[in-house]
């Protein structure tokens, strides 16, 4: 689909060209983004593009990688309407939404509450007399804060609020709320809405605030596929609350894919630039070498390159698994959902944390020029970094995975078998791990065999899950409350989840190798897979040593292997990033250009800086001249 879209020439469509965004103010960047989003919608209409995958590539092509104020309209607003509405509601709202006759967003987070949904304070009180809900923001902390597209763009919102009917609170429910007057775009009476101000990146996005004062909406505006409020105010309960897992799994799987993509972009820039930049002497008397020939530079970049590939496979795996079991979900079979939900929560955190740090590593590997906005990496970073927080704060995500791991461990302890990615816990009951005396196991690890390394990661995960579960039990034995015990073990629990996710990534990468038919491609990806696994060990030697999985001597070999792999991968490094196939327009980087003509183009770029608009800057006349005159 991607080539089809690019092939139609949209990538060069003059309508989608623009001045370098780095030189624009926030308001200007917002305006450009709106212009392109609106244009894109019209082109979608014009070309009759409706297939979701095709729309995805079309958006990537037209808008590049920048956030767009319409983003939540297509994803959350439309998606929620599709899933949570009755047939009558679908009939009314879906045509308006799909045709972008209204623009909507999804409004959940409040100033005082994020990840802990039950704490949200916005209220929707049912008034049977008028058959309306009355929406209110009762405190400062209850003001809706952060939703994208809310500040200036949207005229409708799906608002999450605590439902009150017949004097009782029935928990969180979703409501369709019109917020701006159609035609004039002015906020409706009772609605206070605006932009939350500048952020770390996302300049083009109007993240907004929303305050509601006795704002009334008809009863039919509550999304009623599952829970319902009848005209007299009677509340009808939904059947299952697991269904909401589905959407979360979907969104989090997108973040895993985004981790892979963002890290790939940063690697492409840093590795290409490192082949262009020359510095110092490696051998006396010879010309300055490419900085990519320095071991320290390879050590910074190649493990990240391997990580980008690893995450790519993980993202594809989750997406496929989700699609496979979503059929089951529609038929009411929810048995696989809890594990997938637990796994994606952890992997979302694991991959986004790693990619976040990796992008910064890439930037710093570009020396001073990485700090210039022309490198493109600052933009990749600020656009990506919030994913450590949104759609579930990472530490909270890790603890959700841990809850599942502890539950599985408890099942195994009580003699039950567990299945899926946690099935390694079954082995614990058979061979109790004795942290200090497992030397016999150590020699069985073969350091140049990915399959054997998967076993090492498995043993580490098992050991850390067991340690966390035992520490939790010990805390409970001290007669602490359950919540206290959990809190006092949470650092251990996060470590266990990380080890579990790390194992899953190594396992999926290794499994992928056997699917590659081209021998040369398989060879180079095997090297990357080995590098990923061995580098991970070298960065966490404590876990492997303490559990007796590896010996001191093996750790020295691991470090040696890592360095040998760096030299092996070096000749293929540029080819490996070229394979990501990012178009220069999408990379948005002077340092990462495909043609490598870095310095000339940096100069051309700088000349366009706003400070260079006039030969003598106005501040000379305003401040410098008077100062010199006075002295």
């Amino acid at each position: 689909e991607r080539q089809a879209v690019e092939g139609r020439g949209f990538i060069n469509d003059p309508d989608f060209q623009h001045e370098d965004l780095n030189f624009l103010s926030r308001s200007q960047r917002y305006e450009q983004a709106i212009r392109k989003s609106a244009l894109m919608v019209m082109k979608l209409r014009e070309h009759g593009i409706a297939d979701p995958d095709e729309i995805y590539w079309f958006k990537r092509t037209c808008l590049g990688n920048f956030p767009e104020p319409f983003g939540l309209h297509f994803s959350m607003f439309q998606k929620t309407l599709e899933i949570q509405t009755t047939d009558a509601q679908k009939e009314k709202w879906l045509p308006l939404t799909r045709g972008v006759k209204i623009i909507g967003t999804y409004v959940q987070t409040e100033m005082g509450h994020g990840t802990h949904l039950r704490g949200l304070e916005t209220t929707a009180t049912y008034d049977p007399a008028t058959q309306e809900f009355i929406l209110n923001s009762p405190t400062v902390t209850s003001i809706k804060w952060w939703p994208g597209g809310l500040g200036k763009t949207s005229n409708h919102a799906i608002v999450l609020a605590q439902l009150y009917t017949q004097g009782q609170c029935k928990g969180l429910h979703a409501f369709i709320v019109p917020i701006r007057q159609l035609g004039t775009h002015e906020p409706l009476p009772g609605i206070t809405v605006g932009d939350i101000g500048p952020k770390f990146g996302y300049d083009e996005m109007d993240n907004g605030y929303l305050k509601m004062d006795n704002f009334r909406i008809p009863r039919e505006n509550m999304l009623m596929k599952y829970a319902q409020v009848e005209p007299d105010g009677t509340y009808v309960k939904p059947l299952s609350d697991k269904l909401t897992y589905g959407t979360m799994v979907f969104i989090r799987s997108l973040i895993v894919g985004d981790s892979a993509r963002s890290l790939s972009r940063a690697c492409t820039i840093a590795i290409r630039y490192s082949a262009v930049r020359h510095q110092s002497e490696l051998k006396p008397g010879e010309p300055e070498p490419q900085i990519l020939d320095y071991q320290t530079q390879q050590y910074k970049l190649f493990p990240l390159l391997a990580t980008a590939y690893a995450f790519h496979f993980v993202g594809a795996y989750i997406k496929n698994t989700y699609h496979r079991i979503s059929g089951d979900i529609n038929e009411g079979d929810l048995s696989e959902l809890p594990e997938l939900h637990a796994l994606t929560a952890g992997l979302k955190a694991f991959t986004s944390w790693t990619a976040n740090a990796g992008i910064e590593e890439c930037r710093m590997a570009c020396g001073g020029h990485g700090y210039s906005r022309c490198s493109g990496i600052p933009d990749i970073y600020v656009t990506f970094t919030p994913s450590c927080t949104y759609e579930g704060e990472n530490t909270v995500m890790m603890l959700q995975t841990a809850r599942f791991l502890v539950k599985s461990y408890t099942q195994v302890s009580s003699g039950q078998q567990v299945t899926g990615m946690v099935s390694y816990l079954n082995d614990l009951s058979r061979q109790r791990i004795q942290p200090q005396h497992v030397a016999a196991r150590a020699v069985t690890v073969r350091l140049n065999d990915p399959i054997s390394l998967v076993e090492a990661y498995k043993a580490r995960a098992a050991r850390l899950v067991e340690a966390a579960a035992k520490n939790l039990q010990a805390e409970l034995n001290h007669r602490k409350s359950k919540e206290d015990a959990w809190n006092r073990t949470s650092v251990d629990l996060v470590r266990a989840s990380e080890a579990h996710c790390h194992y899953v990534v190594v396992k999926l990468f290794t499994a992928k190798l056997s699917e590659i038919s081209n021998a040369a491609v398989r060879a180079v990806l095997t090297e990357l897979c080995l590098l990923y696994a061995l580098y991970g060990i070298s960065k966490n030697t404590g876990d492997f040593l303490q559990a007796g999985i590896l010996t001191d001597a093996q750790i020295i070999q691991v470090n040696q292997h890592v360095k040998e792999l760096l030299a092996t991968i070096r000749p293929n490094a540029v080819a490996l990033v070229d394979s990501f196939d990012f178009h220069d327009v999408h990379l948005g980087s002077v340092l990462g250009r495909y043609d490598g003509n870095v310095y000339e183009n940096m100069f051309e770029w700088a000349k366009k800086s706003p400070l260079n608009k006039t030969e003598v800057h106005e501040s000379f006349h305003k401040h410098l001249k008077p100062m010199q005159a006075k002295l």
Partner: protein
């Protein structure tokens, strides 16, 4: 609902009264915050002086940073120039001088948001590298701001490796001038601050050629803009290098030179001179050049790294007692997020690091002062140690603090990403410190070179500086601690660090030796060991930081409460380092697996202890609200009101965006009437 009356917001009725969640934290402090502040400043007199400077600056509206987050690059630059000019006036009014005791507080008071930072480097380089005659000519012009200077060393294609610079200065005997040229695009000067728009003069580093022979890189004073109308001088192309991640107050610039002629006297010639007949004369020691770099690296640690780290800790910790999330106990109110172990584990080690680095900075200053007095006596023996220490600590402290600030930002949930939290700008500014004044990896390798040399010398029985004698003295052994409490003994953990650092240096030296003996060329062997070398250098700096922290606590003569909490912070800093680098301590069995579990237990226990004093510990840094410039970190903890009021001042809410009329309306058109 009354709380939400708009009129109340605009009057700011809630602001000013301290949020009870923050107030309660201050009532339980185990020590006197004021005494800790005084101790951090050095004396009561210092504290008073600092507060007076901060008060004078902050009460002057010209120095306000309230709108900083809303400003464009152009506006930031103009404001910085205005402030720099105004500061001259202010200093005159207040009777502050550059050599006075107030001076060092000014930069902190303006939060570095000011222009002409490189002007000072220009002055310093002339003072150090210029002859008496040159100093007499240029320094008065510069200090009176009759000219504005910059310092042009880095080129588009060359940074840390100075010998690779490509700009040329060819001596022309007939006219007694140097002819300066930028022979190709990668030779263009790139990055120097103040050079893009402000500077009239700059010190240019160029390869000196006399009669076709190259004599290496030398400094030259070059005028680049007219003193009359600020237009560019003939042969000069200069401008701003465009937007960066931060430092929008600084006009980092580019400079291209085409046959620019300057008189022979413009080469800074304290150490090297070209005589009228073209004879090249070298005088004095070139080693002194190291000393300038050493000075800059040490001075940036405090201003550009430790202070921002302290600010980030203040913001994140105050916010973490105001923010409530989920319930720790059923039926209770939602808990302060600082009560979660995971949140403590994110923030408290960073707080401990801020204190550790404050003390290591004192240590470095002392080392520097001692070295400086030796150098004035023409004794250059301490230079290699000073150079190695300033390089290594610059690298370690900047790298550690950069990730610490990032942790603080991400620990504030979504609101951390709002510019109004103050954290994004702290982060994007501090990260530059990992690159400027020497890229960190290269600096660590310089320290490693020194360590390897000292290790070899010490092993051969030759004398080495006292700070590195341990390298050859440490023998293999086992950590003697028997239970988790014994790991709270500074002797136990300091020795573990010492053992680990010595082992890493020793094993890398052995590896180098092996490679060379097996026939690998010296430079190849070095490159093959660089990953380990950098690790060893970092380990050495980490060890010295722990040791210095422990010694500082040991010597501490102040109230018992402060002594106690400082000891806890020292323990936390040390154990956190072992916990997060477990492998290098476990490796060779110095620390056993069972001991590692004890360390982890002790470490986690400490979090709960320090938690109680977390807010008083950041209050002691004594930052004003204006200096924090953060909606999340203000002293009164009125986070949400501040965020709401401040956001409404955003230009996006005040200016009318044409986006709706121009783009949204046509899109929605024709359909609205039907709804």
């Amino acid at each position: 609902m009354a709380l939400l009356e708009p009129s109340k917001y605009s009057q700011g009725s809630v602001l000013g009264s301290v949020n009870p969640d923050l107030a309660s934290e201050r009532q339980t402090a185990s020590f006197s915050v004021e005494e800790l502040t005084v101790w951090l400043d050095g004396s009561e007199e210092h504290t008073q002086k600092r507060r007076a400077v901060v008060e004078a600056i902050e009460s002057d509206p010209v120095f306000s940073r309230e709108n900083q987050y809303f400003q464009s690059q152009n506006e930031r630059y103009e404001a910085a120039v205005r402030k720099a000019v105004h500061l001259q006036k202010k200093m005159h009014e207040m009777g502050w001088t550059e050599s006075g005791p107030e001076f060092k507080y000014i930069y902190r008071a303006v939060s570095g948001d000011i222009a002409f930072l490189l002007h000072r480097v220009f002055i310093r380089s002339i003072s150090v590298l210029g002859s008496d005659k040159q100093i007499a000519k240029w320094i008065p012009l510069a200090t009176q701001h009759k000219l504005i200077g910059s310092y042009a060393q880095t080129e588009l294609g060359h940074g840390t490796y100075l010998q690779g610079l490509e700009t040329t200065a060819v001596f022309d005997i007939t006219t007694q001038e140097f002819i300066l040229n930028t022979p190709k695009i990668s030779a263009m000067k790139w990055w120097p601050g103040d050079m893009g728009r402000s500077a009239t003069h700059t010190v240019v580093f160029a390869q000196l050629y006399i009669n076709g022979k190259c004599y290496g890189v030398h400094p030259f004073i070059v005028q680049i803009r007219s003193l009359r109308d600020h237009s560019l001088c003939p042969g000069i192309t200069a401008g701003d290098i465009g937007p960066k991640m931060n430092f929008e107050n600084v006009d980092n610039g580019y400079l291209m030179l085409q046959n620019v002629r300057i008189p022979r006297e413009n080469m800074l010639n304290k150490f090297c001179e070209v005589q009228p007949d073209g004879t090249y004369v070298r005088q004095g020691s070139q080693k002194i050049n190291y000393f300038t770099m050493t000075t800059v690296r040490i001075s940036l640690i405090s201003d550009e790294v430790i202070i921002p780290l302290m600010k980030a800790c203040t913001i994140a910790i105050r916010y973490s007692v105001v923010r409530r999330q989920s319930k720790l106990k059923p039926g209770e109110q939602e808990a302060k997020i600082l009560d979660y172990q995971t949140q403590q584990e994110k923030l408290l080690p960073q707080l401990a690091a801020a204190y550790a680095f404050h003390f290591i900075n004192d240590y470095l200053q002392e080392l520097f002062n001692r070295g400086y007095s030796e150098i004035q006596k023409k004794n250059f023996n301490t230079l290699p140690e000073l150079h190695a220490f300033s390089s290594g600590f610059k690298a370690m402290v900047t790298q550690y603090s950069t990730s610490a600030v990032q942790i603080c930002l991400q620990a504030c949930g979504g609101h951390g990403y709002s510019s109004l939290s103050g954290l994004p700008s702290l982060y994007t500014r501090i990260i530059a410190s990992c690159i400027y004044e020497g890229e960190n990896t290269i600096l660590l390798l310089q320290t490693a070179r020194f360590l390897i040399k000292c290790f070899r010398a010490a092993s051969a029985g030759q004398p080495v500086p006292p700070s590195v004698t341990y390298l050859a003295a440490v023998k293999p052994g086992k950590c003697p601690a028997k239970n988790k409490l014994e790991f709270l003994s500074p002797d136990i953990y300091t020795e573990a660090y010492q053992h680990m650092a010595a082992r890493l240096v020793r094993s890398t030296a052995a590896k180098l030796q092996d490679l060379i003996q097996s026939g690998v060329k010296k430079h190849d062997a070095w490159n093959q060991c660089t990953v380990q070398l950098a690790q060893a250098a970092k380990a050495h700096c980490h060890y010295i930081t722990v040791k210095n922290f422990a010694e500082t606590v040991e010597k501490l003569k102040t109230e018992a409460g402060i002594q106690k909490i400082m000891k806890h912070l020292c323990d936390l800093f040390a154990l956190h380092g072992i916990f997060s680098n477990a492998g290098v301590f476990l490796h060779d069995g110095y620390v056993s697996g069972a001991q590692m579990d004890m360390i982890t237990a002790s470490y986690l226990d400490l979090l709960a202890v320090i938690r109680k004093d977390a807010v008083p510990l950041v209050d002691a840094f004594d930052f004003t609200d204006k200096s924090l410039n953060s909606a999340l970190g203000s002293y009164d903890g009125q986070v949400y009101q501040r965020l709401y009021e401040w956001a409404q001042k955003s230009p996006t809410n005040k200016q009318i965006s044409p986006a709706y009329e121009r783009y949204l309306k046509p899109l929605l058109h024709n359909t609205q009437s039907k709804l």
